[in-house]
Amino acid sequence: MKTQFKILILMFSTSTLFYAQNSPAFQMDEKHTIYKENFKTNENTTFVLNLKNTSAQIFESPDDKVYIEYTKEFNNTRKKRIKNQLKHLIVLGKKEGNKITYSAKIRNDMHYNLYDFEEFILKRSEKEKYLKGSTTKVVLRKSLDSILHDIKASESIYRNRFISALNRKTSYPRYKKNNQFTITKMIIKIPKNIHVRATLEGSNLVFFDDFFNRSTMNARNSKLKFKTLSNPLNIFDVDNGYFRATEVANGIYSFANVKQVIIGELENAQITSEFTKLEIGEIGRGNKIIDFNSKYYLYNFRNDFGDFNMYTEYSDINLFYPKNIKFYLETIGYNTLHKNKSITTEITESCKNESSKMIVIGKESNPNKIKINTIHGIIRFGEGFIDLGE
C-alpha cells in the first residue's frame, strides 16, 4: 500500500494530466508562473509547438488568441529544490509574422523519498508480466460505447485515484510526514482555424475539446489523447507511445511501434502502420489501411461503411463481421491463414507468389465492401468472439 501511494504521489507531481482543472481543497505553499502569454492569430497563422518531456492540456480557445499558461505549485518543498526544479525548465514563446512558436523542455527532479525506484524499475521491467497479454485465448467483440469508455478511463483512472488519495491523506502516515508535492499545469488554448505543427518527444498531451485544426504532428515516445480529429489535412506521424481518440475523421495517420492505438470511430482516414496494436470501435466510410506486421482488432462496422480496404503483409487481423447488414467480403493475396469459428482455410504460397482471390462472402454488388489484400497474414473472423487459438 505504501508503494502504491508513492506511485500516486509521483504521478501527481510529474503530470498535469492526472489532475483536473478544479483545484482540490489542498492549499499549496508556493505558486510560480513559469510562462503566461497570449498571441493574436488569424486564419493564416501557424502555431508551432515543440514539447519535450512535457505534459499539457489542450483546449479550444474562446476567441482568436492562443493562450499559454504554465504554472508550478509547490507544497512543503525546500527552496533549494524549488530553485533546482525551476532551473531545469526551458520555456520559450514568440511570434514572428504569422508564426507563433512555443517550446518547452522539462527535466524531472524526483526525490527518492517519494519513490521506490528499485521497486518501480524491477516491476516495470518484468518480462513475464509484460508478455502475459499476448497469451489471451479469446477476444470478445467490444461495442463502440465500450471502446469509448476504455479511452475515457485511460485518463480518469489515475486522476480519480489521486483525488481519493488526497481526501484520505490522514490515513497515510507517510503522506502526512512528507507532504511534498509539485503540481504542474500547462494549459494551451488554441483557436480552431489555425494550423498546428507539433513536434512532441516523451510528452503527454490531452485534448479536452474536439480538435478541428489542421494538424501536422510528429510524436515520438509520447502519449496522445483526443476527442474528435476531423481536419482533412491532418498528417500524424506517431512513433512509439500511445494514441487514443474517440473519433478520427479525415486525415493521414502513420503509426510505428505504437504500444496501443485505440480509435472509437474511424472515417475517411488513411492509416499506415507497422509493429503496432490497433483497436477500432467502429469502421465508417472511406477508410484505407496499409500495414506491416501489426495486430488489428476491428470490432464493428457502421451500417453504411461503403468501401473498406486493407493492404497488409504479415498482419494479424481480427475482424468481427458487420452486424445486421449485408456486406461483401473478399480477401486477395497468398500464404494467408483464414480462421472462421472452427473452420480454417490456408492458402498456400504459390510458386510465383501470385495473388489470387482467397475467400469471398456475399454479393459483389453490395454497396458495403470489405476488401483485404493480404500476404503472409492471419485473418480471424467472428461474430461475438474470436478464438485466437494460441
Binding site: 509521483l10 510529474t14 518531456n53 527535466r107 524531472n108 527532479d109 524526483m110 526525490h111 527518492y112 519513490y115 525506484f117 528499485e118 518501480f120 524499475i121 524491477l122 516495470r124 521491467s125 518480462k127 509484460y130 508478455l131 499476448s134 516523451g202 515520438r220 515516445n221 512509439n240 511501434n257 504500444k259 507497422e274 509493429f275 506491416f292 506486421n293 495486430k295 504479415y314 494479424d316 500464404n335 494467408t336 491463414l337 483464414h338 472462421n340 473452420i343 480454417t344 482455410t345 490456408e346 498456400t348 475467400i359 462472402i361 503472409h376 492471419i378 494460441e390
Partner: protein, 171 residues
Amino acid sequence: MKRDIRALFKGEDLGNKTLPDNHRDEFLEKLKKQQNTNTNNFFFLKIAAVLLITLTVGYNAFYKQQDDEDLTIVAQIEAIEGEYLVDIETEWQNFIAIANDEVLVARFKKKLNELDKDYQEITVEFKNDKKSISVIEILIDNLQTRLQILKDIQKHINIINKENEQYENTI
C-alpha cells in the same frame, strides 16, 4: 682517597647573586601569559579542524549518498538492459532460423537497428537525468518492444506453418 667536597667551592663568589623580591610573581605572570597564548591557539585550531572534518565528511556523505543512489539506478538499468539484450539476441537467432523470407528478415533488422538507435539517444538523456521516471519507462519500453516484435513474428510464422501442414479446407 677521601676528600671534602666543600673544599671545591672555596674561593667561588656565590653570595653576591640575589633574587629580586618579586621574582616569584614575575615568573608566575610570564608562565600564565605563555599558557594563555598556547591554549588559545590550540583551541581555535581544534575548532577549525573539527569544522573542516565535519564539512568534509558531511559534503562527502551528502554527495556520496546521491552518487550511490544514482549508481544504484544505473546499475539496475544496466542489469535489465543486459538481460533483455541477451533475450533479444536469442529471439533474433530463433527468428532467422525459421524465417525463409529475406525481405522480412531485412525489414526486421532495419526496425531493430532503428529501435537500438532510439535507445542510444534515450540513454544519453538518461545519463543526464537519472531520476526521470518517464525516461526510464521509455528505455524499458524500447527493450520490451524489440523483444515483443520478435516473439510475435515467430508466433505468426509458426501458426501459418502449422496450419499449412494440417488443413486445406474451404469456408
